[in-house]
């Protein structure tokens, strides 16, 4: 009986002393913190991609709480997540529309000519600094995967030496846009399904020399599409993503235009062809081995 009493007493006294010391310490060294910041951090996706322009999610949360940024500045969060943050802070969510990245080049290993033998670091940025890299087209994708490595979400795949964005995975943070040394990646509205997979401003015949799927500047698509769906700068034709009254071009335009090289196509079709090309290339190398 005594033992139990004494044990309880000893424990109690030590606990009391410790508790007092901790209490005094926490008063003495108190750090003022805003609980709302932690709340917002909890609601953010936590990918730390930097798509918002801040150094990571914690930084962004601070700026949201401070009112410097609206919650919808986070390109990764879904609409529900953003409204949850806004609700938690009692502020306006701001309106946002989802964007995805797209690589505007369609020249893979089979289609675009490799002019010279490149020997060095396997990385687009490095290759671009050595005599403009191995591809003959000075405006084409290197396919060395700098963008794929920079993507925090793994949305970019290199298929047969060509970078292709999977739009369903892409959240539109824009990291890859800044990475590409050829500036081939664009953020476009998620609804945009049809693109011209060529960014070269050169004249048609010159492009034809180095690539089998260039935009020749024939403007068939411009004629087939509605007013304002395409923009023309010199030879270069591109889809007008600043949607006007006629909206973005759809699959019907692709069918109607009958693009002679096939560089105007839907994202799904693009992926499909690239996979087919890859399979073919593999088969060829296997045959070559035999």
């Amino acid at each position: 009986m005594n033992t139990i009493l004494i044990a309880a007493l000893v424990c109690g006294v030590i606990a009391l002393v410790s508790g007092l010391v901790i209490g005094v310490a926490s008063k003495l060294f108190a750090v003022p913190s805003d609980p709302r910041v932690d709340l917002v951090i909890g609601l953010l996706p936590g990918a730390n991609c930097g798509g918002c322009g801040k150094a990571g999610c914690a930084d962004f949360a601070k700026s949201v709480v401070a009112g410097e940024n609206p919650p919808n500045k986070c390109p990764v969060s879904s609409a529900e997540q953003i409204s949850a943050i806004a609700h938690a802070l009692g502020i306006e969510a701001g309106s946002s529309f989802k964007q995805v990245a797209v690589v505007l080049c369609g020249g893979d290993l089979n289609q675009a000519r490799q002019h010279t033998l490149y020997n060095g670091v396997y990385d687009c940025v490095s290759a671009a600094m050595v005599a403009g890299g191995p591809k003959s087209c000075s405006y084409g994708c290197f396919g060395m995967g700098s963008c794929a490595r920079s993507c925090p979400f793994g949305a970019i795949e290199i298929i047969n030496n060509l970078a292709v964005v999977h739009p369903e995975v892409c959240v539109g943070c824009g990291t890859c846009v800044a990475t590409c040394p050829r500036h081939l990646i664009k953020l476009v509205p998620a609804e945009a399904k049809v693109h011209i997979f060529c960014s070269s401003p050169l004249k048609g015949p010159e492009k034809k020399k180095v690539c089998s799927v260039p935009c020749l500047g024939c403007r068939k698509c411009v004629k087939a599409g509605a007013e304002g769906q395409f923009t023309v700068e010199g030879v270069k034709v591109s889809v007008n993503y600043d949607t006007g009254e006629n909206g973005l071009p759809g699959e019907d335009v692709v069918a109607a235009a009958g693009c002679p090289t096939g560089c105007l196509m839907t994202v799904a079709k693009h992926l499909e062809t690239e996979y087919a090309e890859l399979a073919e290339a593999k088969k060829e190398t296997e045959n070559g081995r035999k």
Binding site: H115, N119, V121, D123, S126, M129, A131, G132, L202
Partner: protein, 447 residues
């Protein structure tokens, strides 16, 4: 630092660096400079200087005379561009540039008469001319650093007032293997080099003039020494060591001063110019000739008759290969500049620019392929680095895209001289890694 202060003992060398075993200079060092004939077409790149590209003042179809303005300077750090010969502008458009990308250029079809323009600049007497007048002349003649950097010369001659310059250094080290253009220039036209040095010294108001020449060119040193006294120039023989011709290393070798980290030669009270630049300055001042031609070494074992040629700016390289007797075997590498710092080219159509000190062709047997296998940590790159960096560990950081750490480890001080990659037994592409890191760090700093 006053000019009359005693200069500390000269090391004539610098810590670090490498000694390339095969310098390839014997291919061309005995070959006198031959003036190239007139070709039928020149491709003059518009931007041939560091800084703002000049503004085009001609259009397609214009007839121009030799020395006529093709483009005018568009700012302080910019120089004008002149027609290399008389003829007609046949096109303005993209042409293969020295970095492999397409760059805007003027296509000039020569008419074969090679007539001088009527607006040719009048000769100046440099002994009496005002410094400002001399600087303007250097700019109007379109002179840039001809050793490789292509930095506008008049900018170097106009230091900010708070930097006291007391020494002009002419760089005749020509430490790059294979190249002998500067060597031949110093041997054949020493007077021009010395006058150019004196002009620049006058423009800066400086009396202390050095010419640093590596000791593997004793004939050039003797030749310069014969005349140097007349112009108050001191010719100094330097240890043969790469990169002796790098500004910071040259200043250290000649004066014992260190350029502070991230600083410019003027922070050590010096202005460094290439000897070829000095000769161009002399031409511009004494005879009013703008920079439209230069001496270029065309060399390499695949060539039948390598040599040094006086070529017009804008000559396509293929013409020079023809001039050098064509090739005896198919070259696998074309380099504009020297083998250590020059740029590999993707096409023989690339034209000679103001800073093309050499055209080098390498055969397959001379090329060592880069390999991205692991760093052996042998430390050869550390011993070779003239800036005392650690290229091997840096390259590992850069491979893993840790650019912040690379910046902390002073990657921005890298000269890209190539001593590390030359020495690397694992054949890692070290310089390429450094270039990438520098580009990335600059990009981030801009943000």
């Amino acid at each position: 630092m006053a000019a009359n202060k005693p200069i500390p003992p000269k090391p004539l060398s610098f810590p670090g660096g490498i000694h390339p075993a095969k310098d390839g200079k014997s291919l061309t060092e005995k070959k006198a400079v031959v003036a190239a004939p007139l070709f039928d077409r020149y491709v003059v790149q518009i931007s041939q200087n560091v800084g703002a590209p000049p503004k085009l003042v001609v259009k397609v179809g214009d007839a121009v005379k030799k020395g006529d303005l093709l483009a005018e300077a568009s700012g302080f750090v910019s120089v004008p561009l002149h027609a290399p010969t008389s003829g007609v502008i046949s096109a303005v458009g993209d042409a293969p540039g020295p970095m492999g990308t397409l760059v805007p250029a003027v296509y000039l079809d020569a008419d074969g008469r090679d007539e001088w323009t009527a607006n040719r600049m009048a000769p100046l007497d440099w002994r009496t001319a005002e410094p400002a007048e001399l600087k303007n002349r250097v700019r109007d003649a379109g002179i840039v650093g001809m050793g490789g950097a292509a930095f506008p010369t008049h900018v170097k001659l106009s230091p900010p007032p708070d930097k006291k310059i007391d020494t002009v250094i002419l760089n005749g080290a020509e430490c790059e293997p294979y190249l002998t253009a500067d060597h031949r220039l110093m041997l054949e036209q020493p007077e021009k080099v010395l006058v150019g040095a004196a002009v620049m010294a006058r423009a800066l108001g400086v009396e202390n003039i050095f010419i640093g020449v590596e000791k593997n060119k004793p004939d050039a040193i003797d030749k310069l020494n014969e005349l140097a006294g007349k112009y108050g120039v001191k010719v100094v023989g330097l240890k043969v060591q790469y990169p002796q011709g790098s500004e910071k290393q040259l200043i250290y070798a000649l004066t014992g001063r260190c350029v502070p980290e991230g600083g410019l030669p003027m922070d050590a009270g010096c202005v460094v110019q290439n000897v070829a630049t000095a000769a161009a300055v002399c031409d511009a001042v004494e005879s009013g000739v703008p920079l439209i031609e230069r001496i270029t070494t065309v060399t390499g074992t695949p060539l039948a008759a390598p040599g040094n040629f006086l070529v017009r700016i804008g000559t396509p390289v293929i013409r020079l290969v023809e001039l050098a007797g064509g090739v005896t075997e198919e070259p696998r590498k074309l380099i504009l500049g020297g083998p250590m710092m020059g740029f590999a080219q993707r096409s023989f159509e690339v034209p000679v620019a103001k800073n093309s000190s050499g055209v080098l062709l390498l055969a397959a047997s001379e090329i060592v392929q880069y390999d991205s296998a692991g760093c052996m940590r042998c430390g050869m790159c550390l011993r070779g680095c003239p800036m005392h960096l650690s290229p091997g560990p840096l390259s590992m950081l850069i491979e893993n895209e840790k650019f912040d750490l690379a910046a902390q480890n002073h990657v921005m001080d890298c000269l890209e001289c190539g001593a590390c990659a030359y020495a690397c037994p694992a054949h890692r592409p070290l310089v390429q890694h450094m270039r990438r890191a520098k580009a990335e760090i600059r990009k981030r700093a801009k943000k």
